[in-house]
């Protein structure tokens, strides 16, 4: 493939991926409102369009027309840059996430991934750790006590749970032997005894999966770990002083992070795009994508379900849980996995 074709294909993939991701972010907000509404025995959005499906459009228009107030006491450069940083890093991690097999279009072999890097998993971890800056700088630059406390709490929480997150992923790494996300998914192909798929959750990483899930909920500041942005606690935490489009950017960043976490959970523990494949060639190319999207949807639903069901942790309980329980458990998981793999080899 010549360099020009490669660049063209990559640009097309980037445009499609960004468009799909931003639409998914908008509609995951809709999904959350509907599901939490039904959990709380009410309807959720129903007025704007059938089933309230045009609600995200209405919200977008609302955010565009809202007054974009910049309070006079903020530290302007960082106040404006913080939501940008949050959104940029939330949207960048889609670059290494594979959604399907290699398809052949017009004679070109195109992997369904913007770029397959050898160290894809490390890149996702790196982008997650850089995302802490958006929160910390937003909290500090707003020059308000609620924001500062919320920002500090949120970033301390994110940094603490990053450790357990990373350690839980090492178990997967040891089992598949590569950092590349495509290679990790491909090592989960095939079946045991003909019908149990060889996904990482069935080959011993169940503890790792639960550690990953809990650490990811804390990373993305979602209930039960959302004390830094809970209204009854700190007004609105680090985004108290933000209005209109800047607030919408924080919102988008949070939901994009949720989607990234759901994608990673599918790829690393649930076999990615593996699923029953049948039918003609066009169906064979599209079915893996369908299975991937279905699994990501299940994870988003679980995220929202947990949000509607559990109460939130107090901050000291949260930090104690991360350092005193999750971290030793993740290390124990790592040791056991390494032992099993070493003995088997």
């Amino acid at each position: 493939m010549s360099i020009g074709t490669y660049i063209l294909v990559s640009v097309i993939k980037i445009v499609i991926a960004l468009f799909v991701l931003l639409t998914a972010v908008a509609y995951s907000v809709w999904l959350e409102r509907k599901v939490v509404g039904h959990i709380q025995n009410r309807w959720g959005p129903t007025r704007v369009g059938p089933f309230g499906l045009l609600q995200p459009m209405a919200d977008g228009v609302k955010f565009l027309f809202k007054e974009d107030l910049t309070p006079p006491h903020v530290y302007k450069p960082l106040y404006i840059a913080a939501p940008m940083i949050a959104v940029i890093f939330a949207l960048t991690s889609i670059a290494v996430i594979p959604i399907g097999n290699v398809v052949t279009i017009a004679g070109l072999e195109i992997p369904l991934q913007i770029t397959d890097v050898n160290i894809g998993l490390l890149i996702v971890l790196g982008i997650t750790s850089l995302g802490v800056y958006g929160v910390a700088l937003a909290g500090w630059s707003s020059n308000s006590k609620y924001s500062l406390l919320g920002g500090l709490r949120a970033s301390a929480q994110m940094v603490s749970y990053e450790i357990a997150l990373g350690l839980s992923l090492i178990g997967v790494l040891i089992m598949s032997g590569s950092f590349s996300l495509r290679a990790i998914v491909e090592s989960q192909g095939g079946h045991f005894w003909g019908f149990i798929p060889r996904w990482n959750i069935f080959t011993g990483q169940i503890v790792g999966f639960f550690i990953y899930l809990i650490a990811a909920y804390a990373e993305t500041n979602r209930i039960p770990f959302d004390l830094p942005e809970a209204e009854t606690e700190l007004v609105a935490g680090y985004h108290t002083e933000y209005s209109a489009m800047k607030f919408a950017m924080f919102f988008m960043a949070e939901y994009a992070n949720m989607i990234t976490v759901a994608c990673l959970a599918t790829l690393l523990f649930f076999g990615g795009w593996h699923g029953p494949i049948f039918g003609p060639a066009i169906l064979q190319a599209l079915l893996p994508v369908f299975w991937f999207v279905a699994k990501v949807f299940v994870f988003l639903f679980i995220y929202i379900w947990v949000r509607g069901t559990l109460p939130r942790f107090r901050y000291d309980q949260l930090m104690a849980f991360g350092w005193k329980f999750l971290l030793p458990l993740a290390i124990a998981n790592l040791v056991v996995t390494a032992l099993v793999v070493a003995i088997r080899a």
Partner: protein
């Protein structure tokens, strides 16, 4: 050619970030410039082919250590640096001196034999090789480093612990 362009771009970003770090008056701007320097260094490692080191540079340096720097600056509420007038002499002698010094170093390095430019990806460092080195050739330094980190953690805990409280005041009868 491509290698020279990419190297120069990231090198310039790195140096610009470093100069900005010194030139900024507010410490938070300096800390963020340092993050830019770390990012540019990571790109330079990637150009050499050391992908694992590049990723770890971002994760550890830019994503954890610099976050802690930013925390400290936020918590200490360090204000804007005040301008003192004593830096004119430093400016007069320092800037030319630094330029001459760096030109000297560059001249010496370029005229040694055995140093030539490497192409992109010339020094590959896949994680597998690094893991092998860490656990075979460099096992002792690796283990000793973990003990050093443990000592540092203990020191931090001791420094941050509350001093033992004085005896409670006696109540008057």
């Amino acid at each position: 050619m491509l290698h020279l362009v990419l190297f120069s771009v990231f090198g310039l970003i790195c140096v610009a970030g470093a100069v900005n770090l010194l030139a900024q008056r507010h410490p938070i701007n300096s800390a963020l410039s340092l993050v830019v320097v770390m990012g540019a260094l990571s790109a330079e490692y990637l150009l050499l082919g050391a992908e694992f080191v590049a990723a770890v540079q971002v994760i550890v340096y830019a994503g954890a250590i610099m976050v802690l720097f930013v925390f400290v600056i936020m918590l200490l509420n360090a204000g804007v640096e005040e301008r003192t007038g004593g830096s004119r002499v430093a400016l007069l002698f320092g800037v030319p001196g630094m330029l001459i010094g760096s030109l000297l170093v560059a001249w010496v390095l370029l005229h040694r034999s055995g140093t030539e430019a490497v192409s992109i990806g010339a020094l590959p460092g896949p994680p597998r090789i690094i893991g092998w080195l860490l656990f075979h050739d460099f096992l002792l330094p690796f283990e000793v480093t973990s003990i050093l980190v443990l000592i540092a953690i203990m020191g931090a805990v001791v420094l941050a612990a509350k001093p033992p409280s004085a005896a409670p005041p006696k109540r008057e009868g």
